[in-house]
Amino acid sequence: MRNSGIVATLAGLALALTACGSDAGDDGTTTLTINVFGDNFSLPDNRALYDEYEKAHKGIKIVENRSDFGTHHQNLQARLTAGSGAADIELIEVGQVSGFIGQTDKFVNFKDESVDTTQWTDAIVQRASSADGGTLIGLPTDIGGLAMCYRTDLFAQAGLPTTRDEVSALWPTWEQYVEVGKQFTGTVADVKWFDAGGHVFTGILGNEEETYYNADGDLIVEDNKVVKDAWDLTVDAIKAGQSAALAEFSPEWNTGFQQGQFATITCPAWMMGYIQGNAPDTKGKWDIAKIPGGSGNWGGSYVTVPSQGKNIDASVELAKWLTAPEQNIKLFKSIGNFPSQSSTWSSTEVADFTSEFFSGAPAGTIYPESLENAPSQVVGPQSGVIGNTFAGALNSVEQGTDPNEAWDSAMEDIKAAAGEG
């Protein structure tokens, strides 16, 4: 029979390939695997940082795996639970890191690896540390200090000021930001004030110390006035037609940048890289102003070394190198990820950095300012899940769901998730 013959041939070939493809040659090189999401350490076609390390460390080969945010963190959890399969180095995003704090035995403790933790602020170190502070599971890479990116061309069309100082002066507070939004709305056809309510909400809460959990680790989100106020203000803005209602990291959101569907966006440092990569044609149309409220943090990651790995020492060394100030500065200049070491902020390389793409905005001074004012935020095991729940709930308000209903169902979801998580 013809086709079963073909199938058999394919399978025979397949088996032969499995047999010869499984083992790489053992010539004394150590291969270190690193699992990342998004843009960490390299742009898709650029592994300059890895090449540099390999050149300086003979016998080390670095292999990177990149997957999407959700899959990356889910797979990491599965691999930790199973006790095998994790990469030598795994990246964890700041919103997710709290979910891994309880599993300190599954990671290398950087407290034992002679790392100088004073190079970071307490807040940054604390987030990746066990409650007693005895264990540090990850080294900080970048930090998502907040600013507000805005489209100068659209501001001009709306008759708003366009220079960054004037624009910063428009919105010392988030209430004023929403007020300016009311002026803007309707002046430019098909352009909204901001991309998504969830990002305004994140920005507002960036000024608060206790949001979802208190310092004792209790879930306080339901009765926390600052959370409800942030929600109400965001809902106001949505009701006033200011939101383009683009779910974050969706294809719609991506096209939103390219098509200029919104005039402002809550803009952590890494967002600069995102905008540049995603909408290269908008070069020169963006600028960066101060964030309302003056401070905040969104995003940033930690480099961890799962203890199940076989090359712990080499991995720890690479992790330290990747998160060292020199490398962080290089990344800042190429993709916008802002260095987490406060010592670097005053270096001329950072402080004098201006972004051509963003009309020459002095990114090197805007971000440190926002970070120096930022409170040390308390996070709990399900902070990441809670943040996602709010983003979804606000998105549903944008689609017309009654805000009270959306709030109630968000609370249900949060309590269910936090009850066990």
Partner: protein, 328 residues
Amino acid sequence: MTAQLQDRGAPVDPDRRPAVSRRQAWRSRLYRWDLKGSPYLYIFPFFGLFAVFGLFPLVYTAVISTTAWSPRKPGSEDVSVGLDNYGKLLADDNFHNALINTFGIGIVSTVPQLLLALGIAHLLNYKLRGRLFLRMGVLVPYITSVAAVALIFNQIFARDFGLLNWFLQPFVENPIDWRAEKWASWLAVSAMVTWHWTGYNALIYLAAMQTIPYELYESASIDGASRWQQFWHITIPSLRPTIIFTVIVSTIGALQLFAEPFLFDTTRNNNGGPQREFQTVVLYLYQQFWTNGRYGYGAAIAWTLFLVTVVIALVNFLLVRRIRSADD
């Protein structure tokens, strides 16, 4: 074979009788063993591997479902909560919502899909030129992977610059947000499922139609029955077993619908739309399990769904038996 032939041809030597009979006894025992034992040997690879990779994980999942296990809380895997997870699940609005979505999307995708398939099969059953081409044409979606289908349909169903909303522009005031409105999202997910499976089902119906004797149609048309009457009174009744088969398969497939809604939620937080508009049971399970790290609860959802599936399959089965016996 040669040994057997020699054996059979050899003259019977009376002196060797005891030996032969011992040998015969051995052979007949072997034969009996072959007869009784070998079937088990043949089904063993299936049941052996299934026991290891299917049954064992399922039982293990049942054990997990009685714990408060969350990997985010060390030691929680040993905390037994009895049937609490199941109790919570029955009172969980999101689970109810997921069930409704699952059944809703199931109906919206299965019914039109099977009706369309019937219609296409009927058309393909005519004497046509380029038969192979036509059949291959309707089957193209079947060989396309769900991942590819979803990536393509994600663009077609995009709210702001999607192809479909462009076509609909003259008819609707505001562009439809295919992910944020319940009916729209059900339609979009169902469209993916329908696109993928209609051709396959059409071919199954076509095969069954071809077994209907042509004489039935001939005599009907002599009696003056119209084409529609012929379809209704001859084709459909003859296809009944096949239709039942496809309904059962599609129902079970619909209960386990996952890939399409998973990929359609481009935020990848597995919420199935901002207000869980198209979150199916398996997607909810996946979210609780993976995204929220609730292993115990997720395992309880898994088992509940399994039981629901079994119940529905049993109902299907009984209905079919009833229809069959009514036929006789």
